[in-house]
Symmetry: D2
Subunit: 199 residues, 4 copies
């Protein structure tokens, strides 16, 4: 099945320095898969290639007020955000990585939770343009990428997971998501395969 | 941490005959865990015990028009719904199991996707009553239970997974959800442990 | 501008006996406009004509548990629901009127508030079928009809108000909605005009 | 009825230069009511007084990409946004007015439509802090203020309209909203009355 460029969007979740760059707090957790999959290189190729073909490239950062007054409950993975001091507005860590900036057409606003659709204008960005196919990538594979993919499926988008542009904190979680969960709701493919299917 | 009864709800996902009863299409898939965990027995104990303590018991069925005109995309797990002919309004298979009916205070309307909050009045039921703690159980552990738990977390509810009242189609998926994913967003406990924490 | 039948839906809000039939509590409030506009006759013509042309006819009732446990705050117009004992599940008053039943393709679930999209599967029903044009009618013109039209506009649907199939409790409110508010977000037309534009 | 400060928020809609300041495109439309009600002076008093008492002050701007790629349909009031070139990110016109900036605790992200809750993190901001009472003001009284108030009511917030901090483009619309619509869903009061009720 091919994807019409103008009905397709790439949603790039949390390609922020806090995840992607050595020296930032969340980098060590994803470093292994980032390197083995060449996630950053692939993501740049994906964004560049998709944009060149007329696909909408959507950046989906998570950010919080500097004092985390909009964090919500300090439990589980949200407690970790505060503990690591990540994703604070106005910091270098919260910025999208420089390599991707030239290719992002529009940034989602409002993301504070796991799901890129929850409390954000993502669905509006997509439906305002008649998008039908949503290719999702980013961090963490089994957390925010998966929550966003689950909602995209419920919202009746045709969902694609660009697997070599995602990373979890272990291969166990990465493999589980890729082989057990995503096939229930999405097509799972590489960056190269996805770009070849755009027409 | 204890849970105040009047700030707590149990959300019982898809305890419908199509999943729970021998002879119905989805029973074989969950039979192993259903039996080993004694899911139905535990769920009845959970609903009965919670209701007796003043906890709100919410039934959350998934149903479709008999001709599936409201199914949405026929892809992945939704294709399977149609293929198996399950959850059609007016059928015995779509009904909540008789054992639980006496304990359900209110049923959610509108569920057509994985997430019990998506396109439903579940959040309204909970917020109208000032619910803060949401204990989730049902089927499938890693699909609808997990999607609902993820959204409950994003909506800032304190989430509890009542693990021995859930079932997936394999122990691999059950264990992954219980040990890898749920701890990021929820407290995971048994039915007995949950009931003891209600005050 | 014409409307393609398969991209168009008619959303019929609260054509329930409690509003439409003499002897039921809310009838006296809308009686004047109901009669002068011939709302029921027009609504039947609208539903019948639209269905015949392949337009999706959506019934959008509001209902509550018999004890109103899902009412939410008892304030303003919601206090009035409880005071009048209207829209209780299982009562004749909460049923859609018999004249329309043969033409309704699908009923929305979950409506408890003013807005037909809030806490319901209405958006899913529409987007699952690729609906672009939403013609809205029913009760009250300036309350639930207007709330639903405002959300439909925000959701990027092309909105049509079928004015002679709506009623408010006074001509002042009816005229204000028709001439001041609706033109900001919708095309306003009669039932006859709408049916002529479907192709 | 009094309002507990820590359960109360003031939501200030579109106090942006494009509406509030002479020389900007939308000022002439609201000039009459702005002056007669002293809306800006009152809004500053409201924000300052509320903040001093510990009430959360929420700024709710509407913004679009400079090329309006996220505008959605060019119809009705949205066509007017584009025609007047207003609310473009990075422009002076899209900024909140300087007088209010010191008092705003947090700004809502994502507003592109009439309703301040639609596609935004507003509900999350409020529920994350346990807010029960939402006092709404801004522009236009019968458009964005009213859409936001309607949704706040559906979301079960206790809604207050601070009438002398709102403006429509005519007294007819202002009076209709204040006297006919808002009383169905909200308490309507002046800035001074609201501040006196906070404890």
């Amino acid at each position: 099945m091919a994807f019409k460029a103008r009905e397709t969007a790439v949603v790039m979740i949390e390609f922020q320095n806090d995840f992607c760059k050595p020296g930032f707090p969340l980098y060590p957790g994803v470093e292994q898969i980032l390197k083995e999959y060449k996630v950053i290189e692939n993501a740049v190729e994906l964004a560049k290639g998709a944009k060149a073909k007329g696909v909408l490239v959507v950046g989906c950062p998570i950010t919080f007020e500097p004092d985390y007054k909009d964090l919500g409950q300090e439990f589980g993975i949200k407690a970790n955000v505060k503990k690591t001091g990540t994703f604070r507005k106005g910091t270098k860590g919260a910025e999208f990585i420089d390599e991707l900036k030239p290719y992002v057409d529009i940034y989602v606003e409002g993301k504070r939770g796991l799901d890129g659709f929850h409390g954000t204008n993502l669905d509006m960005i997509l439906r305002y343009r008649g998008i039908k196919n949503v290719a999702i990538c980013g961090f963490l594979t089994n957390v925010c990428v998966e929550s966003t993919a689950r909602s995209a499926f419920d919202l009746n988008y045709h969902v694609i997971i660009v697997k070599d542009c995602t990373a979890a904190t272990s291969w166990e979680e990465q493999r589980y998501a890729e082989t057990k969960l995503f096939p229930l709701i999405a097509e799972v493919m590489t960056c190269k395969e996805f770009l070849e299917k755009i027409e």
